[in-house]
């Protein structure tokens, strides 16, 4: 009894180990497919079958004691075949259906189902009632294994449709069945060889689920996960344990050792020797693969980590659309993943993106030294004594990585590790790869930015061209009838006496015509390509004269204009266009203020530029209005064309300057014109 239970427990243990490993593997890969639960459940079902049949088989052999040799054989093989039933069904359903066609398929099915005959005989000959034998097995078969197998059939059909399942899987089936038959044959052989130990040796077939289980495991792993290293290791370790178990059993229960003295039998000796050699062969593989696996695992762990970091880094790089955000996020990632004291991106133009706050200012000396470097990556510790090493030491830089950006060079300056450890070569490789990606991302962003700017410029030009074309047509189509109407109305106006009621109407009509004419003229002025006539001009005089011209026809509103006269401020400008621009701003300011409004004009000379500010204390502009204020045809006035400021912007930009608006609702608005003192082309040439 002890031996029986020992063997049954052994079989159960080995089988559970194998399925446990498979389950672990499935669990490890669980994130890859939603269908993996099918595999996991199949493994559990198989383990259940192994357990129940191992115990049942042991009990049957012990209790039923068959009398004839055939009966013993059939009794012994009935349970293993029973083990195989689900596997057979599964193979028939899954693999045969997918791999075999025509008569081969039917032959295969018939051959497989012949294995049920021993069960039928066992049922017929056994004195024990049916449920006692097969109750758990059939329940499991009905409720657990069949549904799962059907699910697997469907899934594998999908996999096959995607060319993931390969025809050689039937070899796995044959290997599994062959393994079972071999074990049965070996068991029978040894039973005949050692009749006194037959009751023990006949337990060998109880381990028969192992080959199909292994075959199935291999099949699952091979075609589902493709992890050959792990599969091979698993297979070899199972085979090694199996053959070692055989060898031990044969050695211990089969009578005698390798050299059993006077009763030496060459066949028995050869078989035992073969079994032990096989066991060692497979165990050697287990050891070798185990060692290899552990090395690979540690190796892969780093590679997996690096790959994971690179993946995260790439995702981060593609998620940004502005350069500053990208650079700041990148340095944050570098700092976090390598546990660094600091990380900085420095560009050749002196722009610095730093993770730590406040932003460090790198000396121009460091920038100069960096520009002389040619190495893609520099570990400061490995540098010989040099000015660069000193400068890096002062800035607490551990590694310098050159970012090969297309537009301008950049450097990733990494601090030291918090742990104080040096940078490993693998980390440096990772940094180099990440730096290359960062440079590409920066280049892409720069390209995208310039592309967007170009597109905006093109759109603006197209808009201008469309307005120009429209304006030319409009000018002709509107000015001609206006001319005729005006000519006729003026004659009528002259004819009428001042007391005639109709004279007022004619005057109103003429005013309206004049307003239409002004709008058309503004549209033309905006659409027309401005031709500038630059000359030296005293802006102080120009502003004073413009204010005088602005104030000379007294307006309905009482508006006070403050202007602090300056000494002469000379600049090269188109005097007439600048006067128009300032006048336009003054008129806008007057329209914006209420009665008794105050307009302040300031003239500031700041180095190579001059600023003219026109402020009012009117109602101010909302943020939305400020954003659109320079758009053509946008106006906040009741009677405005919305072209005045657009023309003003065009003129100021033609001077190489800028026009800006700052406004607070309820407090007033300030327009600032910033223009260079020199002519634009002279300035760019300089």
């Amino acid at each position: 009894m002890d031996a029986i239970f020992l063997i049954a427990t052994f079989a159960f243990f080995v089988t559970c180990c194998i399925y446990g490993l498979l389950a672990q593997l499935v669990w490890y890969k669980r994130t890859k497919s939603e269908q993996d639960w099918v595999f996991l459940a199949t493994m559990v079902a198989c383990a259940y079958w192994c357990l129940s049949n191992a115990l049942a088989s042991s009990a049957a052999t012990t209790l039923e004691k068959p009398t004839s040799a055939l009966g013993t054989f059939l009794f012994q093989t009935s349970y293993p075949v029973l083990y195989l039933v689900p596997s057979l069904i599964r193979h028939c359903l899954v693999l045969s259906r997918l791999s075999l066609h025509g008569w081969r398929r039917w032959a295969h099915l018939t051959l497989n189902y012949l294995g049920i005959l021993p069960i039928v005989y066992h049922l017929y000959a056994s004195p024990r009632p049916l449920p006692e034998h097969y109750g758990p097995a059939f329940l499991g078969l009905l409720f657990l294994y069949l549904p799962l197998t059907i699910a697997e059939v469907k899934m594998r059909a999908e996999l096959r449709a995607r060319h993931l399942l390969k025809p050689e899987s039937r070899l796995i089936v044959y290997a599994g069945l062959g393994g079972v038959l071999l074990m049965c044959a070996v068991s029978d052989f040894f039973c005949r060889l050692y009749p006194d130990k037959a009751s023990i040796l006949s337990l060998i077939p109880k381990l028969s689920p192992l080959p199909p289980a292994l075959a199935m495991g291999y099949s699952v792993l091979r075609y589902r996960f493709m992890d050959m290293v792990f599969t091979r290791s698993l297979l070899y370790s199972a085979l090694g344990v199996l053959f070692l178990g055989f060898a031990l059993l044969v050695a211990y229960y089969g009578g005698g050792w390798l050299f059993p003295g006077q009763n030496f039998r060459p066949v028995a000796f050869a078989v035992r020797l073969l079994l032990i050699l096989f066991a060692f062969h497979f165990l050697f593989h287990v050891l070798r693969d185990g060692l290899q696996k552990s090395i690979e695992r540690s190796f892969f762990r780093h590679r997996v980590r690096s790959a994971e970091l690179l993946k995260q880094f790439t995702q981060m790089l593609t998620s940004w659309s502005d350069l500053e955000g990208l650079c700041r996020d990148a340095v944050e990632k570098f700092t976090g993943s390598l546990d660094l004291t600091s990380a900085t991106i420095l560009f050749a133009d002196g722009t610095v993106y730093d993770h730590t706050t406040p932003v460090k200012t790198h000396s121009s000396v460091l920038l100069l030294l960096l520009q002389q470097t040619k190495d893609p990556i520099i570990v400061v510790e490995e540098l010989l004594d040099s000015p660069l090493k000193t400068a890096c030491g002062e800035a607490q830089i551990g590694v310098i990585l050159t970012l090969p950006c297309r537009e301008q060079r950049g450097w990733l300056l990494l601090g030291e590790k918090h742990s104080g450890r040096p940078f490993f070569s693998q980390e440096l490789s990772l940094l180099e790869a990440a730096g290359g990606q960062l440079a590409m991302a920066i280049d892409n962003l720069v390209l995208v930015r310039s592309k967007l700017a170009l597109e905006r410029e093109m759109q603006h030009r197209e808009k201008l061209a469309a307005i120009g074309q429209l304006a030319a047509t409009v000018a002709h189509e509107i000015r001609n009838p206006i001319t005729g109407a005006k000519c006729l109305l003026q004659q009528v106006d002259e004819e009428l006496n001042s007391n005639t009621p109709g004279k007022e109407y004619v005057s109103l009509a003429l005013e309206d015509l004049n307003r239409v004419e002004q709008s058309v003229s503004q549209l033309l002025a905006y659409a027309r390509k401005e031709e500038f006539q630059f000359s030296d001009c005293d802006l102080n005089g120009l502003v004073s004269a413009t204010i005088q011209r602005f104030s000379s026809p007294p307006s309905e509103k009482r508006v006070i204009v403050h202007f602090q006269e300056q000494p002469s401020v000379w600049a090269v400008i188109d005097e007439e266009k600048m006067r128009r621009t300032i006048l336009n701003l003054l008129i806008n300011a007057r329209d914006a203020v209420d009665h008794d409004g105050v307009i302040t004009v300031e003239l500031l000379a700041t180095g190579p530029e001059v600023q003219i500010r026109v402020s009012d204390n009117g109602q101010g502009l909302s943020i939305e209005d400020q954003n659109r204020i320079f758009e053509p045809f946008f106006t906040t006035k009741e009677k405005g064309t919305g072209l005045g400021l657009a023309i003003a912007q065009k003129i100021i930009e033609g001077h190489g300057g800028q026009i800006a608006v700052a406004s607070t609702l309820g407090k007033g608005t300030t327009f600032t014109l910033t223009i260079p003192r020199q002519r634009p082309e002279t300035r760019s040439a300089a």
């Binding site: 000018a475 002709h476 000015r479 001609n480 000519c487 003026q490 023309i647």
Partner: protein, 164 residues
């Protein structure tokens, strides 16, 4: 004898308006609506002044002006344009136009320009008469006329009309 003016414009209201305005000023005005008609009219009768639109159907922008200058060099031409651009104006002046008007114009502006054009024609006739006479007595008169021509209305001294 009344001064004759030919008004060429494809806009009916302009033709009618200018005819009324200039007739009231004492000129004899004929109106046509395109360049080809103008050339036919000029072939039929000589005109002192042509007031013509710059861009009309039938002829290119300056071709009417050039043909008038070829066939009737003594006729002054004032061009009217709805495109207020210096470039076109300069080209028109180079091609021999007496002056130009930017539409829409004031009636007074038209009166002044037409008056100046006839005044200049009169001065030119005087100069030619004096030149043909060739007596020393008129040398001082010629100098006087030339001086008036130079100091009179000219492109350089005229402020460009600003329409903003």
């Amino acid at each position: 004898m009344k001064q004759t003016i030919l008004v060429v414009d494809d806009e009916r209201s302009i033709r009618i308006g200018l005819k009324g305005l200039l007739t009231k000023e004492g000129y004899e005005v004929t109106i046509v609506e395109n360049g080809n008609e103008a050339l036919r009219e000029l072939a039929r009768q000589a005109y002192n002044l042509v007031l013509s639109d710059l861009r009309m159907a039938g002829l290119d922008e300056l071709s009417l002006l050039k043909k008038i200058k070829e066939q009737h060099p003594e006729t002054s031409v004032i061009l009217m344009t709805a495109y207020g651009s210096e470039k076109i104006a300069v080209e028109a002046m180079k091609a021999g136009a007496r002056d130009y008007l930017i539409k829409p114009f004031d009636n007074d502006e038209v009166k002044i320009l037409v008056h100046q054009a006839f005044e200049q024609q009169a001065l030119q006739r005087q100069v030619q008469h004096c030149m043909s006479d060739s007596t020393p007595h008129f040398v001082s008169k010629i100098s006087l006329v030339r001086a008036r021509q130079c100091s009179g209305y000219s492109m350089s001294s005229r402020e460009w009309p600003q329409r903003t």
